[in-house]
Symmetry: C2
Subunit: 278 residues, 2 copies
């Protein structure tokens, strides 16, 4: 039976993305239902898939407001066996979950740092003197919310329903167009034909100016990049790994040729997968 790792506990946006993956890929849910398995951190979920403890990991990779999820990018670069199977984009709408009858009764707000950041203006305006406490996931402290009417958590309405807790305010995210892209990672090559590809590379000359050559490889072939993100190599300041998303499948001959040329102008080149976006 297929097992799927996600950033838990139950009720996180990662779980919602994992459930969406199930709906898309297992339409007949009366048999062979995959098991969802929560992990405490993103690297733990990715490592579980890398080492075969689960078949698949569903992890966030980029939010439209907060940008790249660095733990996911760094784990992907280090992974030796994982390929991106699919990408899933979820709209994010945050709820203030609390048993407090009014905002004035709230003393502390718990949530994942990304969620706190996505509601920063709202918090500054409506809960200016309330302690904001960062947690491993949005739903980590919903048990505290259940026990203590002076604390609140920021999570989805789905999480509030799951834990049978009241929503005091919704939505509270600063930008209405808030969405997060999740990656489905596994050790196999996807069976369905991809439409997008991701790759990452370091550069031979340790200077970002050398990035112009890899970018020209794509520009010369009219291949569109939908994303570029830099991460430190962790060797020293000023050395980077670049993550690129490309609007082309790996089977596309134009793209295959670009990859050959790319080998010559990069140090380490890693194909992270060719996949479809849901």
């Amino acid at each position: 039976m297929t097992t799927i790792a996600y950033l838990g506990p139950a009720g996180t946006y990662s779980e919602m993305a994992a459930l969406q993956y199930l709906q898309l890929n297992y339409p007949d849910l009366t048999r062979d239902i995959p098991t969802l398995r929560p992990y405490q951190t993103i690297p733990q979920a990715i490592n579980a898939a890398e080492h075969g403890h689960v078949d698949i990991a569903v992890v966030p990779v980029e939010n439209s407001i907060q940008g790249g999820v660095t733990m996911t990018l760094d784990s992907l670069w280090q992974s030796e066996s994982l390929q991106i199977q699919q990408a899933i984009v979820l709209p994010i709408a945050h709820a203030l979950i609390t048993r407090a009858p009014n905002l004035e009764d709230i003393k502390a707000v718990y949530s994942h740092p990304q969620s706190l950041a996505q509601c920063q203006q709202w918090l500054d305006r409506y809960l200016p003197n309330v302690q904001q406490i960062a947690t491993d996931s949005n739903t980590d402290r919903l048990h505290s919310v259940a026990e203590d009417a002076t604390v609140a958590a920021i999570a989805s309405q789905h999480a509030a329903e799951l834990y049978k807790l009241p929503v005091l305010k919704f939505p509270i995210n600063d930008q209405p167009d808030n969405c997060t892209r999740f990656l489905v990672l596994g050790r196999t090559t996807p069976t369905t034909k991809g439409t997008h590809s991701s790759l990452a590379f370091s550069l031979k000359r340790n200077m970002p100016g050398a990035l112009v050559k890899p970018l020209l490889v794509f520009a010369d072939r009219q291949i569109n990049l939908s994303r570029i993100e830099s991460r430190p190599t962790k060797r020293s300041l000023g050395e980077y790994i670049f993550f690129l998303d490309i609007d082309a499948a790996i089977e596309d001959p134009n793209f295959s040729e670009a990859l050959v040329e790319l080998q010559n102008v990069t140090e380490n080149l890693k194909i992270l997968g060719s996949y479809s976006i849901a």
Copy 2:
């Protein structure tokens, strides 16, 4: 009298960077000693400088392991008046500060998410089942460490001395070459001649492939980039602001010409400052 905002409370690496700034710029510390003023978050410290509540803010912008400090980059892009006055690079060496006599006695570790991430392998190995609690700064919870011998904090040896607390293990950062670059931000143009410049821009065509043109402007003129980083525009997935550091002063005619040309291939272009690195 000059006032300097930093991410507090006392004992943070930001305070160490602010002290270094003082040593460099106020060699005669017997008179006109600037006042250091701690702020609870990075945006609060930057806003204080932006709105004239302080003269200068000293904030982290990039760590060699964890990458860009997104709150600093986003605040810089939004700022209307701040210019980078100076950059300061500090080596970072983390200590495990606790009254616990042995590692086995520790139940929880407090620190800033960046510091926890910089010690992740050490924590996974030596404190695998201990709760890791993210705080606004490294020194936020040193009072808890003073009161409770079952908790620990990750901060500098300087912080341990300041709060008169024992260091159980040092250094505990995973990479020995760990350093952080800080920016000194103010509303004036620096009086000393710069050696480096920083700028940021968004692109007219909302696609990262369009980044090749701005990069070519520099490559064609043999101007070296020492850093490139992307941040979301917060409008929608796939639209970015790019932050570039350049090894040239703004007075350099070669660079001034590049800036004129850059106007034509970018949407919004913002010069963040021309400054020296200490």
